[in-house]
């Protein structure tokens, strides 16, 4: 394998950017929907394969602007995988949207081009070995998703895109101020120029940085990137953006983009942790995480739109993940990493199912969707399995990570475990309650017959992976996650 990689004229890590970049340019010229969808799948698949090669051989961190270490490779492999399966789902989903005339055929070039541009910006954000470059990548990802959310050009879609845009821009602006402060803190120690913005150098010298400046910087970074993670009370853009955009984009938003912002926060958390005099970032993350968890848990009961329901569920789970990383320590960090992986896989699978549900029933209103397991057994039961997984029912992977998190919290901070368990129960109750109405009972009428059905493959692959993770985690994966958990401190 590695011998083969040496034959390539370029480094696999550059291919993570070059493949989506080239594909974006080509797809922007292809107006045929079928060809475009296939090329989109092909490009995403190739990107995923290159991401896999990084498992075997990593580039030298001293060269270039990109780097790979134990932490970001988890995000890269997961991200490119979800990007690939979403492109398979997107092919059939968008085909149907064009058929029913919801999406104008003229937008197909735009859609596919933007899909790859989004993939490019997320890979750049995850691999950048430079705080400034990472910021630019997150800004690019924000812009592309804003354009995608407004794709249907309806009033609701444009309003959602606008709200996302304004809140996202303010978040990004605050993150930039935090980034500048990090540079200011690093400059007296490392010296002027590029070195003072490089992750690997920053972490190595963080102990000597001015702790006061680091503290102020972290507050801005937390608010800035926290907006993109969707932590309450900075979450207002998230439900609208998920509900009004095309469903593949909802899947990518929940499965990937939130993770990229979270990754940025984790990097800065590591930076602060490396300085003995700086404030501990943990309690901040724990507080925001708990607020998100409990707030979203209650909001789940009030939702009437099915995509909005699962958007709030994303806020809840991002809160849980932030809580886990905020607690820190090997066990909680392990639970956080596992939970993040499981959430990405499960939530994108749920959006694959929800997209099809909305298409066959012709509505996103929860009240108008009933008896799915009777009218569409495969789809209905997949949704049941997916929601059971996201609600944290055994034997799925999310049960496992939540169990780990709760037990480690009970062992270390029993008082914090009380609101944590309370939030988990509230949220699970809401989801299971909503699910019974959607999945069982007398079926509501469908607008399209089951003749031409989109591919169930991505959905089933994701759910099987989540099920396997709940039953058995392979030894090397556990060892690797434990290593990363130690790295996160």
């Amino acid at each position: 394998m590695t011998a083969f990689l040496h034959l390539l004229p370029f480094a696999p890590i550059d291919a993570l950017l070059a493949v989506p970049g080239a594909a974006a340019l080509i797809l922007a010229l292809i107006s045929s929907y079928k060809l475009g969808a296939r090329l989109n799948m092909l490009a995403s698949g190739i990107t995923f394969l290159f991401a896999l090669t990084l498992l075997f051989e990593r580039p030298d961190p001293a060269v270039g602007f990109l780097f790979v270490d134990d932490l970001n490779i988890v995000f890269i492999v997961l991200g490119t995988f979800v990007g690939f399966t979403t492109s398979i789902f997107s092919a059939s989903y968008i085909g149907h949207e064009i058929e029913i005339g919801r999406l104008k055929p003229g937008y197909i070039r735009f859609y596919h081009g933007m899909y790859q541009a989004l993939s490019l910006s997320m890979n750049l954000g995850l691999t950048a070995n430079n705080v400034g470059l990472m910021w630019v990548a997150v800004e690019l990802a924000t812009l592309t998703t804003v354009l995608m959310v407004g794709l249907y050009r309806t009033q609701a879609a444009l309003e959602a895109a606008w709200k996302y845009f304004i809140l996202g821009s303010v978040g990004i602006a605050l993150a930039l101020f935090g980034t500048i402060l990090i540079y200011m803190a690093a400059r007296p120690v490392i010296g002027e120029g590029h070195d003072a913005m490089v992750w690997t150098t920053l972490v190595a010298h963080a102990a000597a940085f001015s702790p006061e400046l680091l503290n102020v910087a972290f507050v801005f970074l937390m608010l800035g990137y926290g907006t993109k993670v969707g932590l309450a009370p900075l979450h207002a853009w998230l439900p609208d953006a998920h509900a009004e955009g095309p469903t593949p984009i909802s899947a990518v938003l929940s499965g990937l983009l939130l993770n990229v912002a979270l990754y940025a926060l984790l990097r800065f958390k590591m930076l602060l942790a490396a300085n003995p005099f700086a404030v501990a970032p943990g309690p901040l993350l724990v507080t925001l995480g708990l607020v998100s968890l409990i707030f979203a848990g209650f909001m789940l009961y009030l939702r009437r739109d099915i995509k909005r329901l699962f958007a709030y569920s994303s806020i809840e789970h991002m809160g849980l993940i932030a809580f886990a990383f905020g607690m820190g320590g090997p066990l909680a960090n392990f639970a956080g990493l596992l939970h993040m992986t499981m959430h990405s896989l499960t939530k994108s699978a749920i959006f694959f199912a929800v997209g099809q549900v909305a298409q066959v029933k012709g509505t996103q209103k929860i009240a108008d969707i009933r008896g799915l397991t009777e009218s569409h057994p495969t789809l209905g039961w997949s949704l049941v399995v997916g929601v059971a997984a996201i609600a944290g029912l055994p034997p799925m992977g999310i049960f496992m990570s939540e169990f780990l998190l709760v037990s480690s919290t009970f062992a270390r901070q029993p008082l914090l475990a009380v609101p944590l368990v309370f939030g988990l129960l509230i949220a699970s109750g809401a989801l299971v309650w909503r699910l019974t109405g959607i999945a069982f009972g007398k079926p509501s009428p469908s607008v399209v017959d089951a003749g031409k059905r989109p591919s169930m493959l991505p959905l089933i692959i994701h759910l099987i992976l989540v099920l396997i993770a709940g039953l058995y985690l392979p030894g090397p994966l556990v060892a690797w996650f434990q290593n990363v958990a130690r790295m996160l401190g």
Binding site: K104, G106, N130, G132, L133, W135, V136, E139, L140, L143, V146, R153, Q155, L158, W162, F165, I166, S169, V170, I172, A173, L176, F177, I180, L181, Y183, M184, R187, P188, E192, G193, H194, A196, M197, S210, E212, L213, N215, V216
Partner: protein, 220 residues
């Protein structure tokens, strides 16, 4: 000379804070746009001065972008838009101008209290510039919060962004400043285009491109 260059840098950065306050009490959109153009001119002067004292020629590019795009093109474009759409009426402010100004003073005090001790180890230019830049950023945020009109929210965002550019250029030797200011200009351009689309939508109750598409389909 050293003393003078410091004083001039602080004077220009302080001038931006002052112009930010002037924006807070503008109650007409056209007046607001003029004051914003002045804000961008002061920013451009300030960045050019930093380029001179740091002997960093690439910062002149940032100064030029600020002058051409933010002091001329965007205010003129918004001006045309406002006049053509007939929205140059009074701006409603939340809580009135007096309380807003008081809050603004509080925010400036806050940024001084936070930044001056925190950045004590950085060199003095950066330390005070940073405090003034944070004031500009917070005043921009305050403006976005207190205004309900889309255009004045955008002017608030752009003044916030001016504060960021001021902070980035004040940080001696920071790489990627030009790239970041270009990236931000793209963002601002998107915002302005977004407003344009929204205004059209509000007037015709639909985006007219969609109406055109429907029309074309009908003829085919």
């Amino acid at each position: 000379m050293e003393r003078f260059s410091l004083d001039a840098a602080h004077l220009l950065a302080g001038g931006m804070v002052l112009v930010s306050f002037m924006m807070l009490y503008q109650n007409r959109i056209l007046g607001l746009l003029n004051v914003f153009a002045a804000h961008a001119v002061v920013l451009s002067l300030s960045v050019a001065w930093q380029a001179y004292i740091q002997a960093a020629p690439h910062l002149y590019v940032t100064a030029a972008i600020a002058l051409i795009l933010k002091a001329i093109i965007i205010p003129v474009a918004l001006h045309h838009m406002v006049v053509r759409l007939g929205v140059h009426r009074d701006i409603e402010t939340v809580g009135g101008i007096g309380p807003t100004m008081l809050m603004g003073i509080g925010l400036v005090a806050l940024s001084m209290v936070v930044m001056l001790p925190a950045a004590a180890e950085a060199d003095p230019i950066a330390r005070e510039d940073l405090a003034l830049a944070l004031s500009v950023i917070l005043l921009g945020l305050l403006m976005m919060v207190t205004r309900q009109n889309a255009i004045s929210q955008i002017v608030g965002f752009m003044s916030l962004e001016n504060g960021l550019v001021l902070a980035a250029t004040g940080a001696r030797g920071m790489p990627l400043v030009v790239e970041i200011s270009v990236a931000f200009s793209v963002l601002v351009a998107f915002i302005v285009i977004g407003v344009f689309l929204f205004r059209i939508r509000e007037r015709f109750d639909t985006i007219d491109t969609q109406a055109l598409d429907d029309f074309r389909e009908g003829r085919e």
